[in-house]
């Protein structure tokens, strides 16, 4: 049946797409909206997408584009309070909690990165994509990919605060 291939793709990849989109958007509901929209559109064009060598890569690109051009801006999480809380807690808590807090701090910092930088970061560190793949997904050159990532890393480093220093 015509939709079988599509159905199989969705069943196999939906979870990963949702996670990817959530990592991109830092908003699970927005991620869900994007992934649903994209998959419904992909179904209409499944004839061509399904024929491709890497349908997942293509759909991921659709999701990424949707994220990059998302107009309905949803209220972003309040990240500043997280920072404040962390600063207070950091010196006092146990190692495990410190790591946890440290991770959350990083999450918060990633969440405020410019979208393209964030997308490049997620692709490299979550999807383990090569620079070539990232370039294809973001529709830019590999040089631009590297520049996005290095700028993102720079910002995340500049903003490094107490918890990570404590660990080192």
């Amino acid at each position: 049946m015509p939709d079988d291939d599509y159905d199989q793709f969705v069943t196999e990849r939906l979870d990963r797409l949702l996670r990817y989109a959530t990592a991109l958007t830092c908003d699970k509901h927005l991620a869900q909206d994007i992934v649903q929209d994209v998959l419904l559109r992909a179904r209409q064009r499944w004839g061509r997408i399904g024929e491709m060598a890497a349908p997942y890569l293509y759909v991921k690109r659709m999701v990424t584009n949707e994220f990059l051009s998302w107009r309905r801006r949803k209220a972003r999480r309040d990240v500043s309070s997280t920072h404040a809380t962390l600063d207070e807690l950091a010196p006092m808590v146990a190692d495990h909690a410190v790591r946890h807090a440290e991770r959350d701090a990083m999450r918060a910092r990633i969440a405020v990165l410019p979208r393209k930088q964030r997308a490049a970061l997620v692709l490299r560190y979550y999807e383990d994509s090569t620079d070539t793949e990232i370039a294809r997904i973001l529709g830019c050159t590999e040089g631009t990919v590297r520049s996005h990532i290095s700028r993102a890393l720079q910002k995340l480093r500049v903003n490094e605060n107490i918890p990570s220093e404590v660990l080192r």
Partner: protein, 355 residues
Amino acid sequence: MNEQERLIREAIAAEADQAVDYRAVLSDLHRAKPRRRPIALFAAIGVAAAVAAVAVIVPLGVDRGAAPGTVDPAAPPAGQAPAQNVLLIGLDEVTNTDSVVLARLGPDGTASAASLPRDSWVDIPGVGMGRLNSAYARAHSAAQAEGRDGHAAGAEALVLTVEALTGTQVDHYASVDMAGFGALADAVGGVEVCLRTAAKDQFSGIDLPAGRHSLDGAQSLAFLRQRHGLHYGDLDRITRHQVFLRSLATKVIRAGDVAKLNELVEVVRANVRTDPGWNPLELARHLNGTVRTATIPVGEVIDSEAGARLAVDPAAVRTFTAGFFADQPATPSTTPDGSPVGTPAQPTPEDGCVD
């Protein structure tokens, strides 16, 4: 990996873990599916060569409405057309009848299609007992010898034979060259089928190992033709036709762009002949995608010197046809396999694989 990268990985993974449960989204997506999927349903008709022609056209008319010149988009909706009985004939390159399907197009836009095995041993009006597939060829060559249109004569002879056998009046016919399926298979870039066992047969020229294959034009024709070496002979081949046509219809639907579809329609047009004054494209706009398929009841396989033939009880066929074609608004089957009431047990390839 340095400490910062490790932390970034952890942070992004933690973020990703916030994702909503995919199962909820999956059911949302299923709900969002269009309820009526005429293409998929129509693909299911998959009974005979000629039907694939319609399967190619229906998506244009019903679903896309975007192919100028193929189907009039302003056509009246289904429901106005009177019931029609149409004989669909699949021919090989030497005018042997490879498949015969009698379809009834209901006034409500539904279609019922009954396959008539080509080896059925039947009464050919004016000739006597013979194999169903000989009716066309005999009349074709006789007419050509007299300088008349062989195809028209062949089709008319087959129409008479089928009318006599089924007790059903045939309003129109459409014949299609099986070679057209080779052209279609090539045009869509190959048709996927799955073989349970290796197929090798010198008559059809097929030579494929077991497993999934994307058949090009030549392989498609061999696949559709092979009868020798198949356990149920022609009945297996009917199953192959159905599987092939579903797969072909899938590829056609996937073709996507209008230019490609128009190319396919041209391939179909070049390979389809009909009785004068009837345009099979008309078919498309009258159908709503609900198709029931079945095979007429046949008896035992009789091996004779001239090859296998299938015993057929005309009375049983008439009863079956009358029942199958009777308008049955109560239980319109929309399943791919229809309701094979009174048909011989035909293995339904649930995994899409055939012998």
